[in-house]
Symmetry: C2
Subunit: 351 residues, 2 copies
Amino acid sequence: MEAAGNDLLLRALLREPTPRRPVWLMRQAGRYLPEYREARARAGSFMALCTNPQLACEVTLQPIERYPLDAAILFSDILTIPHAMRLGLEFEAGEGPRFAHPVRTAADIARLPLPDPGTDLRYVIDAVALIRRELHGRVPLIGFAGSPWTVATYMVEGGGSKLFPAIKRMIYAAPRELHRLLELLARATILYLNAQIGAGAQAVMLFDTWGGALTPAHYEEFSLPYMAQILDGLTRHADGRVVPRIVFTKGGGAWLDKLLAIGCDAAGVDWTTDLADARARVGDRLALQGNLDPAALHAPPEVLDAEVRRVLESFGRGPGHVFNLGHGITPDVDPQSVARLIEAVRRYRLD
Amino acid sequence: MEAAGNDLLLRALLREPTPRRPVWLMRQAGRYLPEYREARARAGSFMALCTNPQLACEVTLQPIERYPLDAAILFSDILTIPHAMRLGLEFEAGEGPRFAHPVRTAADIARLPLPDPGTDLRYVIDAVALIRRELHGRVPLIGFAGSPWTVATYMVEGGGSKLFPAIKRMIYAAPRELHRLLELLARATILYLNAQIGAGAQAVMLFDTWGGALTPAHYEEFSLPYMAQILDGLTRHADGRVVPRIVFTKGGGAWLDKLLAIGCDAAGVDWTTDLADARARVGDRLALQGNLDPAALHAPPEVLDAEVRRVLESFGRGPGHVFNLGHGITPDVDPQSVARLIEAVRRYRLD
């Protein structure tokens, strides 16, 4: 048993020594949990779940009640900001997000409002405050937002995409307009994350889910500087503690060194990069978060144990590792496998 | 004008000096060309186009007639081998490939036949011979196959996939069965590519389109060794010349050094890796093929010129670069942009 007030996550993100590696899992509050599916059915829709602070709080806490995790992460979505910009967000069953009004032209961009988190995104901020209260200090609460580039892909494409034809066209044919959109999203995200921190988020994460679809030069032009701008604008301390920042560019394992100069404390690492390589490249300048292949949750128990151990050992000794998956848990995972994974991380002692 | 018998591609793939960089484009025979769409409509279906040597030849030559390209690539599909294994391949409109009989169990795998290229894949071999004849030596003809891992993803998932849940489950829960499948595919691919070489293919390429979805350790266990096995089994000379081999693992830019020991002459590089970095890692041991972002074909003409130049310059001086895209041309590309791209490559002289 850890003492009340488990702060392993916050310490590991700042590369302070911890008696064991903290563990949380991307999308730990999600469809693989029967209690989540029940709450989702009660809410009626995904956005109804997100926009109701009571329900968002309930769902955020579900994995914390079930498992000895070391962090809670706000249950929300990376598209709350464009939703607040009134682009008509809908989640069609099995289809992913769709915007009724995609953003394509300079006029579309000029028309976009800067959402006020205190009103337009009040439901998120209320959820953060409520979750903090209900957590009773058991584990830290992570707030989050999408990176401007990643959020912009959905706004411009009008939904999810494989090749990003519309926004890539903007990169080549209308880069100034795209920069204007990204600039607005960065400003909106600073306000949004600072409101989350003000309401009680103790760490924040930027999800740059589609940064890896860019060329290295475009990553440095269209994604990285806007994440840097956000980090530069964020409240650094709350409740007398540093608020650690995590940046996760999926598919960006080869570019980890580019994160060294943008003011984050930790980098998320997906399953396609070896943690030993990642660490060799960032040295002691960043903590690392990751990176078990989420499909390993389908392995037989002993194989899962071995895979967890392989990830822990690939990071090596010393502080600065937060165990996580390389992307979110998929809905087809058996909740018992998640218990086994967490137990395997908690059992491990090498440092 | 080049002399009859443009062999720039073959020389560049072997890192021999060439007066300029050769250029061809993945999926250069494809839906962006009106003459392709016309032939496709005449054939009635994608597979009807593939399985008719006359039509496959016609379509292969379309971009060669239209543009001063330095290579032709056989018009075919990476799923011809599982098609010959009678898994019931269909291409639904806008949906991509579907197998009526996915391969899931040890019994499914044990039941798979080893296709004989001389009979089961005769249509491909006849197409190769016909194309070589119709090319009259203008440019070299590239033959190709999918990598065993990549082909297996379609066979096991039953079609295209984003997260590869079924085959990833096999990796963790039934690795021996998966190895048996990959072994069979490697054997089939050796026969298949040797038959293509026998019929006139002057270079061969392995498309490892989904190798980048693996962890580094799994790439070394489930994709790389089977590509090595194939290369080891291939005819090395034809018509008194070396038959160069290209391996392209999309999303595998960070692993290029792993290709140094498997017997390929050139590595395909996607748009997420900088060619200068790639070259720094493979030195003078591999030629490189790539890697313009295909979306650059939507750029205004001057921007496209600049992007082409950036790719050419990122490779630097010296031999061993074949200009290409980082993945296939998309159907929405204007054929005039392709002309402009090729012209920009041909104009460039730095070496």
